[in-house]
């Protein structure tokens, strides 16, 4: 199985994302923002960072990168896509996920280990977790406050598309403590915290994040 991770100018977490993909047992494939080529990958991860300096809005310019045209087309045909932090912001700006990520309500850059509840373990990215499991992975961002219209929030909640929720306090004022969501199919998932930084207890607060990458592998092996 080949899993790609996109590098935009200003992406920070591509190396850790590729490392996490490899640690799960998949082949990690670097993808470049300027190449309209997904290199026959079976899934794509948009890593965190500050693509294009977050100028204009976080993710607003990255969505127009040549590689994103391919990602959007493939995602609409069913390619699993995971957006982490800035990648989540890019997916929202690209219209693959609803809502938007705004400045943290306390205006601080938040950097800490964060407990999350897995609200939906039926997506290709979360099937390794028990329903309702609580995991701890790093959170580090300035624009993490998930916001959407009330009707969109109702839809997300009603359809089980809130995938992760903050527990132990809301770090950024996101609506309904939402940390991560999916599209209607469940194949496109975005979250603000960083599973790729928590794949090994030596270098992270836990190895809880590896489950997201292992989940994807299960999905393809069983398909």
């Amino acid at each position: 199985m080949r899993v790609g991770a996109v590098t935009f100018p200003g992406t920070l977490d591509d190396s850790d994302t590729l490392r996490a993909i490899a640690a799960s047992g998949a082949e990690a494939v670097p993808l470049w923002h300027g190449d309209a080529d997904l290199k026959q990958v079976d899934a794509v991860v948009l890593p965190g960072g500050f693509s294009y300096g977050d100028y204009l809005r976080a993710g607003a310019i990255a969505r127009f990168a040549p590689v994103m045209g391919e990602v959007v087309d493939a995602a609409r045909k069913g390619l699993p896509v995971l957006g982490i932090c800035n990648g989540f912001q890019v997916l929202c700006e690209a219209g693959l996920l609803p809502g938007a990520l705004l400045r943290n309500s306390e205006l601080h850059f938040v950097c800490r280990d964060q407990w999350l509840k897995v609200e939906n373990n039926t997506t290709p990215w979360t099937s390794r977790y028990d329903a309702g499991a609580e995991i701890i992975i790093p959170l580090k961002n300035q624009d993490g406050r998930f916001t959407a219209s009330q009707s969109t929030v109702d839809e997300l909640e009603g359809e089980g598309r809130v995938v992760f929720r903050y527990v132990g306090g809301n770090p950024n004022g996101s609506v309904n403590h939402i940390a991560g969501i999916s599209d209607a199919t469940g194949r496109i998932v975005g979250l603000m915290p960083h599973p790729e930084h928590a794949i090994d207890a030596l270098t992270g607060p836990s190895d809880d994040g590896l489950g997201m990458f292992l989940s994807l592998l299960d999905q393809v092996v069983s398909a």
Binding site: L56, G99, A100, L107, T147
Partner: protein
């Protein structure tokens, strides 16, 4: 050539912590009587006469603003 101004503001129902922080700072600086501040973005575009209003709206709606959380106003001004 003409100058076009695009103002982008957070929608009224969207929490604007940056504007609130500015509003809270004003009394500390000795300025009283300002009850609320909303912070947005102001763009100035120099455009050819061939660029029509529909195109400007597309630029403002599809790129300069995020319609999920922001409103925009496009104005042509004297350059």
């Amino acid at each position: 050539m003409a100058r076009v101004v695009v103002d982008v503001m957070p929608k009224p129902e969207i929490l604007d912590p940056q504007g609130q922080a500015v509003a809270r700072a004003l009394p500390r600086l000795g300025f009283t009587g300002v009850s609320d501040v909303r912070q947005g973005k102001h763009f100035e575009l120099e455009v050819d006469d061939s660029v029509d209003d529909a195109t400007l709206d597309k630029i403002a709606e599809g790129f300069l603003s995020n319609p999920v959380v922001e409103d925009f106003v496009v104005r042509r001004v004297q350059s």
